[in-house]
Amino acid sequence: MVDEAELRAFLREGYPRLVGAVALACGSEPAAEDAVQEAIVRAWERSERGQQIDALAPWVATVALNLSRSGLRRALAERRARARMAPGPVASPELTAERLDLQRALAGLPARQREAVVLRSFLELRVDEIARAMGTTEGTVKSQLAKARAALAAALAVDPEPEVEPDHADA
């Protein structure tokens, strides 16, 4: 159940990181923020209906990633954002170039692989949490993560150093 305290804590700690992660996945910060907010409101409405959401962050992340795939949503969110926002800080050219490469590489992944890598690498969820959020098995998540990481490393010309799944008891 999402209560007020949990929501506030999430907005303080999880929200900015989630917006950043979804922005990297979909290539647009306004669209990412729009999708994340929409997902939180849906979680809020479900909670008011007494529906259980075991873990808010993975649920919101999964729904937001699904929502952010819509091209129309991206276009509308960007138009709204341009109307109300001052231009943000300008990133360094190296960072911007690297980000564009990363966004292109993420965009080239199949949707489920992209979802898995965002949940794991950006939001640092455990494999079992990702499996629950994506409605699949841990084995499938591991396989999708391995393929996604290999594809990203190849596209970005970096070392695909294998990551180690943290001990579940630590989380």
């Binding site: 929501l7 506030r8 917006v19 992660a21 809020w44 409405e45 990363l102 990481r149 970096v158 150093e161």
Partner: protein
């Protein structure tokens, strides 16, 4: 050579925006309200289109089956009413201008606004009345998201409210219906708490003076309840119907009016997912202890395309649990 994790971490830190949680919360509240309004408007527009299409259909059928020109209709039209006199009616004299007070006192000793009412509620021999309203604060009518308001009742039939209870939520709320769920001659009050495509309803017990009142109190779920089905013990009963992208609900009724049993079905599915749907069917009965008892609760997993296990009639237990 940089590692993939270094690159991902660096980019995520650069992409993470700074946000004030209070601003975000405000945006979420506004977004939630817009969603409710949008759904309501959508349903209303759909209903309008259906009505318009029906009217057009009737007109076209009428033309298709119209007799030859000059034939008489089967029923003679009524003679036209005499035209009303053209003399203007007298307008009341304008009252001296003053700042109007917000809201009104419905009998509780304080002013309320956003008032909705429902009459003809059977409380023994008395015809009672119920209101939902928001308390006026600092001379203004608060937003229902800031103050969910109250439900008030007139239980002695004199037209003035004599008991009230605070609501936990009110989004387009109103006293919605009344039905005698425990067949004791005193109807229970059904309050629409949220007007949306997934409306929810609270059920309130009316306690007249002769039974220790006057009072209006939410009916609670008896132990052990059925938490997974949305009926945790000790909490007010809330019924949900309708549907959206992640939820479908339906309400039916058995053995009404002699020994009513509410049958509540609900199904949840992952948003944007095609996976299986978890559905529950719960049977509830209001007992003499004033609590809603869960008689049974069954949980099943079904294909996403499967309909709910029950069919909701128009007015289960005498109440239309559908504001749209």
């Amino acid at each position: 050579m940089p590692t993939l994790d270094d690159l991902l971490d660096r980019q995520l830190r650069a992409a993470t925006p700074t946000r004030d949680p209070l601003d975000v919360r405000e945006q979420l509240v506004r977004r939630k309200r817009r969603r409710t309004i949008r759904r309501t408007a959508g349903r209303t527009a759909l209903a309008g289109m259906v009505l318009a299409a029906s009217a057009a259909g009737v007109l076209m059928l009428g033309r298709a089956f119209e007799g030859p020109e000059g034939s008489s209709p089967a029923v003679s039209p009524s003679p036209p009413s005499p035209a009303p006199p053209l003399t203007p009616t007298a307008s009341p004299a304008p009252e001296p201008s003053a700042t109007p007070e917000v809201g009104r006192d419905i009998g509780l000793g304080f002013r309320v606004c956003s008032v909705s009412s429902l009459g003809q509620i059977r409380v023994g021999d008395v015809r009672a009345k119920a209101w939902t309203a928001i308390r006026v604060r600092d001379g203004r009518c608060p937003d229902e998201l800031d103050d969910p308001g109250i439900v008030a009742v007139d239980l002695d039939g004199d037209g003035a409210a004599d008991a009230w209870h605070r609501l936990t939520v009110c989004t387009g709320c109103e006293p919605w219906g009344a039905t005698d769920l425990d067949a004791d001659g005193v109807e229970e009050l059904v309050v629409l708490l949220q007007f949306s495509s997934t409306p929810n309803f609270g059920i309130y017990r009316l306690v007249p003076s002769s039974a220790g009142g006057p009072a209006v109190t939410p009916i609670l779920v008896a132990e052990p309840g059925a938490r997974e089905a949305g009926f945790p013990a000790g909490k007010p009963v809330e019924l949900w119907s309708g549907g959206d992208e992640g939820f479908t609900g339906a309400i039916a009724c058995e053995a009404y009016p002699s020994a009513p049993v509410l049958v509540v079905a609900r199904a949840e599915q992952p948003v944007d997912g095609a996976g299986p749907v978890e559905a529950t069917v719960t049977r509830l009965r209001l007992e003499a202890d004033g609590l809603m008892h869960v008689i049974s609760s069954e949980r099943t997993t079904r294909p996403a395309s499967a309909p709910l296990p029950i069919t909701a009639p128009d007015a289960p237990c005498g109440v239309r649990f559908n504001p749209l």
